[in-house]
Amino acid sequence: MNAIDHPLVAAYLDSVARETAELPADRRAELLADLREHVEVSEAADDDAIRAVLDGLGEPRTVAASALAEEGPRTGATTTAAVLAPVGPLSGRRAARLIAALPALGGLLILGSPFAGALVLAIGLALLWKTPLWDARHKRIGTATSVAVPLLLLLGGLLLAGGRIGPLELLLLGVFLVGVPAAGALVLLRALRD
């Protein structure tokens, strides 16, 4: 008997089909065809070999979950992005707060330690651009507000070195240094709520 007609294989494919009911029909058919081909190519001949192939593929639920995850954040494009909760490692609530805060923190950290600050800023920005949580516009806002800190610092440093800065300007600079990245992080977090 051909492996593909084996009851174990049929039961496995049925399970995957059941668990992927939410997938678009063509995507679901493609996944089932891929799994079917995998079993066929393996040319398993007896029950044990077929069981081993199916074990290798993993639980139907696990395979289905990964198919739904690949589908999830991308189908929404921009409009339904907020409705369809994005999935993946960079999509949780806590991840969102961390990603919103990291670039801003990195910019501020540059005050104390330029190296560590730049590193945190770079990692924060990389995460910001990698996550499906925000659209490109918000990503640009987050980037601009956090990169503003080292730029403001540079400006402040230059003015200070030239002796052309008084206590009031210094205070103003300090307010901007904290305010701009904090506002950026707030904009990002608020974007997730609506």
């Binding site: 995957v16 995507r27 493609e30 996944l31 891929d34 799994l35 081909e37 995998h38 066929e40 190519v41 393996s42 040319e43 290798g56 593929l57 993993g58 639980e59 696990t62 395979v63 990964s66 198919a67 995850a69 690949e70 589908e71 991308r74 993946g88 490692p89 330690s113 330029p114 190296f115 560590a116 590193l119 945190v120 770079a122 990692i123 990389a126 990698k130």
Partner: protein, 117 residues
């Protein structure tokens, strides 16, 4: 503990697996089972082999790979995956970014204060 370890591996894998797949296709097109054999040779890279197919499907939709059905000398026809120009560019970008990330993570793991400057 085991659960947590599995979670860490799974999150890390999610970020890098697709680039490992692109890297495996760098020199020649391969079919699914062939890719899985090579990935599974490194134990951390796959747990449930079936999850590679949704990933391959997305890579195809995003234009990183092309697929082609080819006859096999034995058995049924196989769907081969080949790297596109876009896929090659994505792989090159990852190859450039990866050492920076690796070094950054190592930096935090070995020197949590990050205060070498």
């Amino acid at each position: 503990m085991n659960e947590a370890g599995g979670r860490v591996s799974s999150q890390l894998r999610k970020g890098v697996l697709e680039y490992c797949v692109l890297a495996l296709l760098r020199d020649e097109p391969k079919y699914g089972v062939e890719l899985l054999t090579e990935l599974s040779a490194v134990s951390v890279m796959t747990t449930s082999q079936g999850t590679i197919y949704p990933l391959l499907s997305r890579l195809r939709r995003e234009g990183f790979v092309d697929t082609e059905l080819r006859e096999s000398p034995s058995g049924p026809p196989r769907r081969y995956y080949a790297l596109t120009a876009l896929g090659t560019a994505a792989l090159a970008e990852f190859a450039g970014a990866w050492p920076l990330f690796r070094d950054a993570v190592d930096h935090f793991l070995t020197d949590p204060q990050g205060d070498t400057a």
